[in-house]
């Protein structure tokens, strides 16, 4: 369970939110409302006030790299540090089933990152995150550049992750997706979370 208490960052907050194990929570809000800031603050990539804990263990009781391995953040724009796709994965063959489900060519391991399309980057970024086996997923519009088929697979993978006891905070602009992926949704407005049924 991820529990956030009095999170404050720039114009955000204070925000309180609890996401139970097995639960996916959807989040939406206008551009610039601070959705990405909120996810970054949870992943401890930006300094933020307040307490965040995973299964009762506060983020400050563990090192930041340990925290981020468990609370996995996927930014809207994925970053790549090597020239080849394979350089970004610890064990590509273990990722192959997921790669194939997402409609990617397993030969992509040898591709140059520079020639990836935005959809390929987004899917590979998602695989790279799950390879790390985080407990909680923080997804920032993970299907923004994907077609319907790939979007459906991502949503399935998120559902499977939660069914296995993980949790997820899913940011999306798409109302249908907002309703589809989560039982509980929020609108981020003026720095506060407002319960949102998705209508």
């Amino acid at each position: 369970m991820l529990s956030i208490r009095h999170l404050v960052r720039l114009h955000l907050g204070p925000i309180d939110l609890e996401i139970a194990s097995g639960e996916c929570v959807a989040l939406r809000g206008r551009s610039g409302s601070g959705k990405s800031l909120f996810l970054r603050a949870i992943a401890d990539l930006d300094p933020a006030g307040g307490d965040i804990a995973l299964d009762g263990t506060g983020r400050n009781t563990m090192t930041a790299p340990d925290w981020r391995r468990q609370v996995g953040y996927l930014p809207a724009e994925t970053g790549w540090w090597g020239d080849r796709v394979g350089a970004h994965f610890a064990n590509w063959s273990a990722c192959r089933p997921m790669v194939e489900r997402l409609g990617l060519d397993p030969a992509a391991v040898d591709w140059s990152v520079a020639r990836l399309s935005s959809g390929e980057r987004q899917r590979l970024g998602f695989v790279r995150l799950l390879e790390n086996r985080p407990h909680c997923l923080l997804l920032d519009e993970p299907t923004a550049s994907l077609d319907e088929v790939a979007t459906e697979v991502i949503e399935e993978l998120v559902a499977e992750h939660c069914a296995a006891g993980g949790c997820c905070l899913f940011v999306t602009h798409d109302t249908a997706q907002f309703i589809r992926v989560a039982r509980r949704g929020f609108l981020l407005d003026a720095g506060k979370l407002v319960p949102d049924g998705g209508t």
């Binding site: 401890d44 990539l45 300094p47 996995g72 540090w81």
Partner: protein, 268 residues
Amino acid sequence: MNYVTLDYVDLALAASLLLINGAVSVALSLGLARSLAISAVRMVVQLLLIGLILDFLLATVSPFWTGLAVLVMLGFAGYEAMARQDRRLKGFWAYGLGTGVMTLAAVLVMGFALITQVSADPWYHPQYLLPLLGMVLGNCMTGVALAIRSITGALTGERNAVEAQLALGRPFRLSTLPIVRSALKTALTPTINAMAATGLVSLPGMMTGQILAGIDPVEAVKYQLLVMFLIAGATAIGTTGAVFSISWRLSDHRHRLRLDRLTDIGDE
């Protein structure tokens, strides 16, 4: 020592060469005449002034005045290294970091040289200390400015790549290692190239100066070699210090990339 002394008529004659510059500027309307005149006058005034100051320092051999001259030189070097940056650290660090690493490099290298190799008496004798420091500091400053520029530029430009690694739980040091490596390479390369080109492409000013002053060329070469080694050492210390202290300053104990500690020029 025997050498031909110059009088001011000789200099005025040489200065007439500037008229060629002026004529080109006027003929092709480059608009450089004004800045040419200002630069020429500045050069004359600044050099004459420094000549007088050195005259005074060499006559007095005072630890106080020599020390003051050293501080002023360090201060200007720090300012110049900062002025060459597009992105600066906020607050005191913009000036303090570059000045700090250059001071460290200069103290270590000059202390080493003056105590063991040059052995002037007294060790702070301005005849040795100031010219050597000037040459070491000038080159060290170029390297440090380049190092700061390339590490801040790369951390800003590669932000997504660095944060992608941080988000996956890699430590900051590992995530920025390639950037740190290439910044150090960029900053150290000019010094290495200068060593290879010396004597073939360029005759170093200090060495030619000593030869003009009547010193045996081999003795002049030995001094030049000493200076090049000091420069190489000081540049290595200065650039390494700059790159590591910048990457320290742009991160924190939670392994974050703190680009908020940088300012873009113009939004201060």
